[in-house]
């Protein structure tokens, strides 16, 4: 039953590495990242684009990868949480989340950090209001958001200094 479905090829770049994969056309980008590429840092929270836990960058835009059929990612540049840190040290946004208490249970954290990273690429010096708006698509049940927003502000300030 499972082998009778037609698969096809898709080529995309994930965290700087070119990939050609055999996929089902309507497979979710989320599942391909997690199951085929083993990039399990991207999480599923709701499967309907509400919680933002599966957020990744696709061609520089923030997308919820549970709503992206993988064929739509043909030729795309995808960046996941695994693409942010260098082997030896954390990305400043990750460091800020760690320092400010922006991660509690950690399940929303990868998506939240991708959203925050994306926000700073668009608005390097966001106001407090812009930070809240920029993260409004990512749900966190643990923190009440204050320490997440502070982490983003701290990372922005760090960016200014560099």
């Amino acid at each position: 039953m499972t082998t009778s479905r037609l698969q096809c090829e898709v080529s995309l770049t994930v965290n700087g590495k070119s990939q050609t994969l055999l996929v089902y056309p309507m497979e979710r980008l989320l599942d391909v990242l997690r199951q085929q590429l083993g990039l399990t840092g991207t999480k599923e929270g709701c499967g309907e684009g509400e919680c933002g836990s599966c957020s990744v960058l696709m061609n520089g835009e923030l997308v919820t990868s549970c709503l992206v059929p993988v064929l739509q990612a043909q030729g795309a540049q995808v960046v996941t949480i695994e693409g942010l840190a260098l082997p030896s040290h954390l990305h400043p946004m990750q460091q800020a989340f760690l320092d400010c208490g922006g991660a509690q249970c950690g399940i929303c954290t990868p998506g939240m950090i991708m959203a925050a990273y994306h926000l700073l690429t668009k608005k390097p010096r966001p106001t407090a209001r812009e930070i809240k708006d920029g993260l409004a698509g990512n749900l966190c049940r643990c923190t009440g958001y204050a320490q997440i927003c502070e982490a983003v502000a701290a990372a922005a300030a760090q960016g200014d200094r560099e």
């Binding site: 929270g45 499967g47 309907e48 399940i107 993260l135 966190c140 643990c142 958001y145 204050a146």
Partner: protein, 755 residues
């Protein structure tokens, strides 16, 4: 010993690096060779008898492993307090979405179709769906009277009080279900082999609860069940009892198939089938003097437990004991009961009964104040519990508490008096109304009553080969910071650096039973035991002659490494013993209900928009006394997170029920607060010197869910001058009330609109 302090400092979270890089492995990130996926066939009716199960053609059923109640080797129950909940339905369905059959297959994607292809015919039975229907006994659905549990608290003599009172104030308050909405759904993997038995990995709070449940279900001895907690993406009580159910399912499939089996719920299954906060109804009748002294009162507290007992008796107990709030009641009678309905069982959720009864208490205080024509602040001040007075269960408050001081400080922080005056003036002419509201409350830390004594938690600390130490507990991390704080305590006790202390995985084969990770007990109760076990290491090393008293970090590490090299192991254990004077009488339901209480005053400032009738929380001050704060960053995060959940509880989160089934089991239509829905919650701590747990810390995790709902609704009442007594309070509820109020006013000829 060195003077560098670890306790009280915001050290990095132990597992923080792995969390911010996405490397940490949650259950859905794990996989075993030859693993099958499991799925659950659930009931579509609230109550009835199964007549026939048919498997539709078109599905290759021979490829599936199918488990029914007949395959259960042991007792068909989810073992907890009372074994009334089956793991799989045998004949009678008692709620919608009750598990009936289990399916496993190697292809995850075929399972939903297979679940759909199982047709079940039922003979429906009458069902009840509300507290009132259950009380009326429209149908008897549990026991002989639909009542899971009753408690009665009586103190003083209430009868003369009604005649002496200048005022008798009555009110009825209701709260609805709330979904925990951890972002990681429930999930487990089970594997089985005849030699080693069952190994279960899962997202869970209480490894030993699951351990006990699997032993009974699978009829296996203790050593043939191993439970390992995987990183857990939020829990809030929602992974206290339900994991025993899903673990049982995966274990049964693994035993029958001979393969490891993974079951991970999707969001809808998690919301529709697992536990939620108990709906409640509280009635107050209070006798008060003209001066605002409470003379006595009667409280009736009822919770809806759903279809099976699960943790309901203990939830009811905490709610009952907290029902009188932080006030002195010279005479009181509290009747409490938990009733059955044909909904999935309601269960543990941060606060555990207290948010319900405290909502009622704190709304009722504002109603009393309004009736008497005195300020809500003054009324509270005249009745606050003081050191030396007794709670409703007769517990003498020995701690130096000062609720007046807490209230004064909170009022100052919120700029309460100036704002209250401003709002009065501004509200006259605008399209919005602003208000400010207060809630004062308490939360008992640790298991209720004799719970801690019965648990008798055991904790270990071991010395490691490299000279560091490792904490051995079954207490779990799910965001609160368990790993971090327990390591801080061990390191500080031994004069080590934070990096010298580590914590063992919560694996029943490696760690003793330090009790469940619930009830705000981890830092206070388990932390104290960690401190004591760590001291034992020190004593052993000193007695062995390898270490001197007053040693440095380096000396300890060297001695510890030498001891381990020589003897192979260095372990120290500590077991809970009730502090002196903490005595609870289960029969009389009286005594010291908790070893310690945390105290708080919360103040909410709101704007009600009179076009959309939506409410925004503009400012929130959360001031609490939780003993010593061991980790300021984590503690603040606990409070702010709890307050955000409380804002959701008050204003957004409504479970829509139909015939006992949740209709809005999606994040799209069950609305929790986003970053733009909560203000920057201002968190403050007061220390009054009532120290209990490790380094003087009391429980903190549950407290912050108790106060936001009453503070916010009190603020809305302040804004609109209309009473609201139920949560969640949605825009449509406010609209209706405002419309009704306007109508009454115009009929009365005094069309002044809202104040």
């Amino acid at each position: 010993m060195k003077t560098e302090h670890i306790v009280g400092v915001g050290v990095p979270r132990k597992e923080g690096w792995d969390k911010v890089t996405g490397r940490v492995q949650y259950i859905d990130d794990m996989s075993l060779p030859n693993m099958l996926w499991g799925a659950t066939v659930r009931s579509s009716i609230p109550r009835g008898r199964i007549k026939r199960i048919t498997f539709d053609a078109g599905i290759p059923w021979d490829e599936f492993v199918i488990v029914s109640a007949k395959d259960i080797p042991g007792k068909n129950c989810v073992a907890l307090i009372v074994d009334d909940q089956p793991c799989l339905v045998e004949a009678i369905v008692n709620h919608p979405e009750e598990p009936i059959l289990l399916l496993a297959h190697r292809d995850q994607h075929i399972l939903p179709k297979a679940v759909e292809a199982v047709a079940i015919d039922y003979e429906p039975l009458p069902a009840v769906f509300s507290i009132e229907e259950s009380e009326r006994q429209a149908a008897i659905i549990w026991g002989t009277d639909n009542i899971f549990k009753r408690y009665l608290i009586e103190q003083g003599d209430l009868e003369p009080v009604w005649a002496q009172a200048d005022f008798v104030v009555e009110g009825e308050y209701t709260t609805e279900a709330q979904e925990q909405l951890y972002i990681e759904n429930n999930g487990v993997i089970a594997s089985f082999d005849r030699e080693r038995g069952i190994t279960l990995w899962g997202s869970l709070q209480c490894p030993y609860y699951v351990h006990k449940a699997l032993m009974k279900l699978c009829d296996l001895p203790e050593h043939k069940v191993r439970v390992v907690q995987t990183e857990t993406g939020g829990a809030f009580g929602g992974k206290e009892e339900y994991p025993s159910m899903i673990a049982g399912h995966a274990a049964l499939l693994a035993m029958k198939s001979g393969h490891p089996v993974k079951i991970v719920y999707d969001r809808m299954e998690d919301m529709v089938a697992t536990t939620k906060r108990h709906p409640s109804r509280t009635r107050h009748r209070t006798a008060v003097s003209r001066e605002g002294k409470i003379l006595g009162g009667e409280i009736e507290f009822v919770v809806d437990g759903g279809a099976y007992t699960t943790l309901t008796p203990v939830v009811l107990s905490r709610g009952t004991i907290h029902a009188g709030g932080p006030y002195y009641w010279p005479n009181i009678r509290i009747h409490a009961k938990a009733v059955a309905t044909n909904a999935p069982p309601h269960g543990a959720f941060r606060g555990f009964g207290a948010p319900q009864s405290l909502f009622a208490m704190e709304r009722h205080m504002d109603r009393i104040a309004l009736t008497l024509g005195i300020s809500a602040l003054e009324l509270r001040r005249r009745n606050f519990l003081k050191t030396g007075q007794t709670t409703t269960t007769g517990q003498v408050i020995r701690d130096p508490i000062d609720l007046d001081k807490l209230l004064d400080r909170a009022l100052g922080l919120a700029d309460y008096h100036r704002k209250k005056e401003c709002f009065r003036a501004e509200n006259a002419s605008e399209g919005w109304k602003k208000g400010i509201g207060v809630a004062a409350f308490l939360h008992g830390a640790g298991f209720t009553g004799s719970g801690e004594r019965t648990l008798g938690s055991v904790v270990g600390v071991e010395g490691c080969r490299d000279g560091g130490v490792r904490v051995l507990v079954s207490s779990t991390e799910f965001g609160q910071g368990t790993k971090t704080v327990l390591c801080q305590i061990a390191a500080e006790t031994l004069g080590l650096s934070y990096e010298d202390a580590d914590i063992a995985p919560a694996d029943t084969q490696q760690v003793p039973n330090s009790g469940p990770t619930v009830a705000s007990r981890t830092v206070m109760v388990v932390g104290k035991l960690v401190e004591s076990a760590a001291r034992g290491l020190d004593q052993t090393l000193i007695a062995s002659g390898l270490l001197r008293a007053g040693h440095s970090r380096e000396e300890f590490r060297e001695a510890c490494a030498n001891y381990v090299a020589e003897h192979g192991a260095l372990k120290s254990w500590a077991q809970y013993q009730a502090p002196p004077g903490i005595v609870w009488d289960d029969e009389k339901y009286r005594g010291e209900a908790y070893a310690a209480f945390a105290w708080a005053v919360y103040i909410a400032e709101v704007t009600v928009d009179l076009t959309s009738y939506s409410v925004s929380v503009d400012d929130f001050v959360a001031l609490q006394e939780v003993g010593r704060v061991l980790h300021p960053v984590l503690a603040r995060g606990q409070i702010a997170g709890g307050v955000a959940q409380g804002i959701g509880y008050a204003l957004y989160e409504k479970v829509v029920w139909q015939q006992g089934r949740m209709q809005n089991a999606q994040m799209t239509n069950y609305i929790m607060p986003t970053s733009v829905d909560v203000p920057t919650i201002r968190v403050y701590f007061e220390q009054l010197g009532n120290d209990h747990g490790a380094f003087g810390a009391k429980g903190i995790g549950e407290l912050p869910i108790d106060g936001p709902a009453p503070a916010i609704v009190n603020a809305i009442v302040d804004a609109l001058g209309i009473n609201f007594d139920s949560i969640p309070l949605l825009p449509e509820n406010i609209f209706e009330a405002v419309a009704r109020y306007a109508q009454t006013e115009s009929q009365g000829g005094a069309a002044q609109g809202l104040r």
